[in-house]
Symmetry: C2
Subunit: 324 residues, 2 copies
């Protein structure tokens, strides 16, 4: 069943008890990051639907008061076996909350506690429109369209038909740049990422899942608007920043940060969504596609960096190796 039909069934079922009033997105790490665009979408575009994005462990230890008959719980786990996220789904099942699970493995443990399962594309040559991030975005878009209504619904769906080609072209476009980046930054001990708006989750993922987890490089993801209220004092000609110059409503924040870095910093890698072709998507919905662009373009950079550093992206010291 596709997302539109799943949401239609939930909306129909919930009509008897007053409709959908809360949507909780719950996941860990990369899956948490993948929920960032849809969380921002419902925060921005929904008038009254309450939306939350939670780390799974935080959620199961501190279940919100709104988690009841009007709530929908949407969880994501790539292999469907993240213990905290499986527990969150179980908590949903026990509380009588409708549970939707996004996973790459539809035969995994999390499915036991899910009313609906959405599987997504992953790996080389995947269709970007079928990726976790876009499938997650669609859950929010359909919930909004089928309840409060969403004026830009058709434009957003059109954007989904455009994103695969845009991303694949962008990935080719950055190949040389990514190789140069890898050479320039291969010995750095700290690399910051910076972003704003619905694309911020991609900067968060790059920071925690790639620089910290897969390359053991110190990192933080800085919000471009918050940059000027603390973090910018760290700026000097040595400190590297990867800046997401996003397309959409918060681009001005990223431009301001870039202007500062161009004046007082020196080592800035700019990923410009305009330059990378995102602007063909309608301006009213383009914000929600930054994440898919950046998350996939980063992949080219990550492989280049791992190669030059001779530190494979699969190397771990704790994950899969020790109990924790």
């Amino acid at each position: 069943m596709d997302v539109k039909k799943i949401i239609a069934k939930i909306v129909e079922e919930k009509a008897e008890v007053g409709g959908i009033k809360q949507v909780y997105y719950v996941a860990c790490g990369g899956s948490y990051g993948a929920f960032y665009p849809v969380k921002t979408f419902l925060e921005t575009e929904a008038k009254t639907i309450k939306v939350g994005l939670y780390n799974s462990s935080e959620f199961i230890h501190n279940i919100p008061a709104g988690f009841g008959e009007n709530a929908v719980l949407i969880v994501a786990s790539h292999k469907g076996n993240t213990p905290e996220t499986v527990k969150a789904a179980e908590a949903g099942k026990k509380a009588g909350v409708i549970v939707l699970a996004l996973t790459f493995k539809p035969d995994s443990p999390i499915v036991e506690f899910a009313d609906y399962v959405i599987s997504y594309s992953f790996g080389d040559n995947k269709d970007i429109a079928k990726e976790k991030t876009i499938q997650a975005l669609l859950t929010g878009v359909e919930i909004l369209q089928q309840t409060e209504g969403y004026d830009n619904y058709d434009k957003l769906l059109k954007g989904i038909t455009q994103i695969d080609l845009i991303v694949k072209n962008a990935c080719k476009h950055v190949e040389k740049r990514a190789a140069a980046f890898a050479n320039e930054y291969k010995n750095d001990k700290v690399i910051y990422t910076m972003a704003s708006g619905a694309g911020y989750g991609a900067a968060y993922m790059e920071s925690i899942c790639i620089f910290m987890e897969m390359q053991w490089i110190n990192s933080a993801s800085i919000h471009s608007g918050e940059f000027f209220h603390g973090p910018f004092e760290i700026t000097d000609v040595e400190i590297p920043f990867v800046l997401q110059l996003s397309e959409g409503r918060t681009r001005a924040l990223d431009e301001r940060a870039l202007a500062f870095l161009n004046t007082y910093g020196k080592r800035v890698e700019v990923l410009d969504a305009k330059d990378l072709g995102l602007s063909t998507i309608d301006a009213s919905v383009v914000d929600y596609f930054n994440h898919s662009l950046y998350n996939n373009v980063y992949n080219i950079y990550n492989h280049a960096l791992a190669d030059v550093r001779q530190h494979p992206l699969t190397t771990r010291r704790y994950m899969w190796k020790v109990a924790y």
Copy 2:
């Protein structure tokens, strides 16, 4: 007018149009961090009220659809002149949204666009119960109590009567430890903070406003639950972490992170809210007081660190010095 009366007037006024449905907390940097407990409070305890916490610049560039007659905008600016936050207040005024401004300077520019002004205590010997964080928390508590109702209202108000003494004792209690910390970490290039739950904002503030802004030390605030899904691979015996072992529902997350750091790391400074006396506050509401405890205890550490490093907390290279 105190917070309870201000909210009563707003609730009365909004009754004609269907009541308060959205609460937007909007600020930058330290003030953004100070809103973290109240944002978590309404996310957790309110069933249907939609709550958002936004950086001011993000907010004014991307105003949410819910920002209308049922919304309350609550802004904070210490000196009342943060340009982005003043603009956010102005946007509220223009949209006919009720604006509440928290500021230390009630005669500042932001007041022009505020329907109600709440001033707070600040500086040496301040009453912790009258600080920005607790006054902000009270706005959420009163909104909830006067709309949906809040079962633990009396317990939370009792907690507010307890917090000043707890914090002042804790600050004395850590003096020696803070001096030892300053000596141990004075030459480090990176220091991470880690936290969960409603107290996470204090870890964020320590990271961006102290380590990065005031000491030019690289930093990130890591969520204790997210730690195991990426960041923990950075752990080794060299990397320093300051861990908030919080009191309340998410303590288990912090304990798990601490157990890992005690096994695979070495340089961990633990701020244990139990040890620091927070447990005398009722368990049903104690989560919302972690921030006030940590934020003030950090102050002892910060002065010790600045002294040993001969890098005053007031030294800046960009703020107050260049245009940006």
